[in-house]
């Protein structure tokens, strides 16, 4: 785009090759080079390395990494935790977005800032919060021990920590979308006889579907990839409380050549998840943007003569 602009200017006999507000070609080149090399060195190379390392000893070894029952259990646990955390965050995100976008109440700004808390807190601290609450020496520790309920160093604690870490994603995505949509469509549904639930199901949900999906994808990626918070509450019991990221660490640290490859194999799975997430995310962004553009674009007025003719012909 910029290039063609410059060309056009040149053709127009203008000796200056740039607009008044544009940087010189040298500065442009330097900036692009810096940006690109950062992307290559810090993103592309490490990512490629993960796949390279995991496949370095052949596809068979790669596949065999996943036969290990402990690795399998880690994959299953990751899916289980995401399977619990993501739907719960869906419900919470919808409720929070609905409450903040459609109602005015005292303390609304505080609620909105609190939703962001997990982004601000270090994941390790988030994990410790749950240890302090539910651990042996924790606030509810004795009460839970009496009833033989294990939360810390067990799956429930890991689910809790994951929910804590991931809960801003859906709400954050939905609040602006719902605020932009307003409440008129819902009101229209009510005047047409729809109950609150029907209104939500037929009107509210479809109008936020792309934003919701976007939030869910990000939420899922984080739920599966979370390390810090989950690590603190997991107890690192091999085959029981290892998720994929924890398994990667463990395999890597055991330092045999075989487990090293296995570590990269599991890591490649996580990297693949990231790539898929990225593709879906880009698609959803394009989708929402397109819908937004279409909504903004004014369709030219058509004359309203047609209906008047219709009516008069009907009444005659």
């Amino acid at each position: 785009m910029m290039e063609t602009d410059t060309k056009l200017l040149r053709r127009g006999g203008d000796t200056k090759s740039q607009r008044g507000t544009e940087e010189s070609p040298f500065v442009k080149g330097v900036l692009i080079t810096i940006a690109l090399s950062f992307v290559v060195v810090f993103l592309l190379l490490p990512l490629m390395n993960v796949f390279w390392q995991s496949l370095s000893r052949g596809v068979r070894v790669y596949w065999e990494s996943f036969v290990d029952p402990d690795t399998r259990s880690a994959i299953k646990l990751t899916l289980l935790i995401a399977g619990i955390a993501v739907p719960l965050n869906l419900v919470f995100g919808l409720a929070a977005a609905w409450a903040t976008a459609k109602f005015n109440f005292k303390g609304k700004p505080i609620l909105i800032s609190l939703i962001d808390l997990p982004f601000a807190v270090s994941p390790v601290v988030a994990g410790l919060l749950f240890v302090v609450l539910f651990g042996r020496q924790g606030f509810f520790g004795e009460w839970l021990a009496d009833r033989n309920i294990n939360i810390i160093f067990a799956v429930p604690g890991m689910v809790l920590a994951t929910i804590f870490i991931t809960f801003p994603f859906v709400a954050r995505e939905l609040i602006p979308v719902m605020e932009a949509t307003g409440t008129e469509q819902e009101q229209a549904a009510l005047t047409l006889g729809a109950s609150g639930w029907q209104t939500f199901w037929y009107v509210t949900l479809p109008s936020v579907r792309w934003g919701l999906l976007y939030g869910l994808i990000l939420c899922n990626a984080r739920a599966m990839g979370e390390f810090g918070a989950v690590s603190v509450v997991s107890g690192h019991i091999t085959g029981q409380t290892d998720t994929m990221p924890l398994r990667v660490e463990k395999l890597y640290q055991s330092a045999s050549a075989a487990s090293m490859t296995a570590a990269f194999a599991v890591a490649s799975l996580l990297a693949l998840l990231a790539l898929v997430t990225l593709v879906i995310k880009t698609f959803l962004e394009w989708r929402t943007q397109r819908e937004f553009d279409l909504a903004q674009r004014a369709v030219p007025e058509a004359p309203v003569l047609a209906p008047s003719i219709q009516i008069s012909s009907r009444s005659s």
């Binding site: 949509t181 008129e184 469509q185 009101q187 229209a188 549904a189 009510l190 005047t191 047409l192 006889g193 729809a194 109950s195 029907q198 037929y202 009107v203 479809p206 109008s207 579907r209 819908e291 279409l294 909504a295 674009r297 004014a298 369709v299 030219p300 007025e301 058509a302 004359p303 309203v304 003569l305 047609a306 209906p307 008047s308 003719i309 219709q310 009516i311 008069s312 009907r314 009444s315």
Partner: protein
């Protein structure tokens, strides 16, 4: 009667949006709720629909008190100012929505939607989404959607507010025709007095939450209940006069006011059409000079400056203007054929229309 409001008030916190309003709407009537923005007209409409609940007072639809009846059960059709079409549904699904909720049979829904789309000139657009429609089409889809479940009342909030000026005129005529075709009781909100005058059987005029007057377009124009209505409907020359010896005086102008005491302040109003202009400074009592003329289509607005500096607005047809041979800067004389004593914004007005000279067309349609 179709709708009845008894002493209805609505408060939002400390703000009184609607203040003790009562009026009745006849079955099949096309009623305009008119007023400046913030007048409370939309709140009245929303209270009838059930989207807002009155703070006090009763609302009756077909004789039944509906205060405790939910929006869903009131059987009203509501057309929102920005149409509020369901963005994720196509035209067919939008119109069918209310029928689907009411659990109509599939075939019946199909027939009813087809019937409405034909009535509203939307046939062929079934598969379009709202963003693929023009403003006028969106509005008609909104009306079709509201009409589909056969409501007992149709409520429209600023129906032509979001449409550009050229389309507005066509839509107005079209709404009148649609209404006479369907004969469903229809209330619409507008801030445009011309629109209200042209479309409504009767007009309810609101200002600052108060009902100022209810009446036919002719009534509110010819017999405004107070100064607010007089100034809001049409154009009016308004002057503050002081009474002396049974005559209210504003500079050189004199208006007989026999029953008023000396020193009383009166507000005098007269329509530009009540001002007769002669191309000679001696024909009538008050001489003046034409300062500006404005071409308004078939009408001319003429601003006449009196020797005291007072500016009087007059109106006439283009033909009259040409016949009299008027032009800017010309010396003329004027006669005020009729005027009103307007007392205050809130006080009711006694029907004192004093005709000085009953010339023809003393009350023309002056909008």
């Amino acid at each position: 009667m179709s709708i009845q409001l008894n002493n209805v008030s609505k408060q939002f916190g400390d703000v009184v949006a609607v203040n003790n309003v009562s009026f009745t709407v006849q079955e099949g009537e096309l009623l305009g709720l008119l007023g400046p923005s913030g007048g409370g007209k939309t709140t009245v409409l929303r209270m009838i629909s059930g989207l807002e609940l009155p703070t006090s007072g009763d609302i009756l639809i077909r004789g039944q008190r509906v205060n405790d009846i939910s929006v869903q059960q009131r059987n009203i059709g509501f057309v929102f100012q920005n149409y509020a079409l369901f963005k994720s549904m196509n035209v067919f699904k939008n119109v069918a929505f209310g029928l689907k909720i009411k659990k109509w049979k599939r075939r019946d829904i199909k027939n009813r939607v087809a019937e409405l789309l034909e009535l509203l000139g939307l046939t062929g657009l079934e598969k379009r989404f709202p963003h693929q429609l023009s403003g006028g089409q969106r509005q008609r889809v909104a009306i079709a959607r509201a009409l589909a479940p056969q409501p007992s009342v149709l409520l429209l909030d600023e129906p032509f507010g979001a449409v550009d000026a050229k389309i507005r005129q066509e839509l107005r005529e079209w709404l009148v025709r649609l209404h006479s075709d369907l004969n469903v009781t229809t209330l619409f909100v507008t801030h445009d007095q011309e629109e209200a005058m042209e479309v409504s059987n009767r007009i309810v005029i609101f200002s600052r939450g108060n009902l100022e007057q209810i009446g036919t377009p002719r009534e509110v124009y010819e017999e405004p209940a107070n100064e607010f209505v007089a100034r809001f409907i049409g154009v009016m020359n308004v002057l503050d006069a002081t009474v002396k010896g049974g005559v209210a005086r504003v500079d050189e102008l004199e208006f007989p006011a026999p029953e008023r005491r000396d020193g009383q302040q009166l507000r005098i109003g007269f329509r530009p059409f009540a001002v007769q202009v002669a191309p000679d400074p001696t024909t009538y009592r008050y001489p003046g000079i034409i300062r500006h003329t404005f071409f308004l289509g078939i009408l001319m607005r003429v601003e006449i400056e009196l020797p005291s500096g007072l500016i009087i607005r007059a109106r006439m047809t283009k033909e009259e203007y040409a016949q009299l041979g008027l032009h800017e800067g010309q010396k003329v004389s004027i006669l005020i054929r009729s005027y009103r004593i307007l007392r205050g914004e809130d006080e009711p007005l006694s029907p004192e229309v004093t005709a000085v000279d009953k010339g023809p067309g003393a009350y023309g349609a002056d909008i």
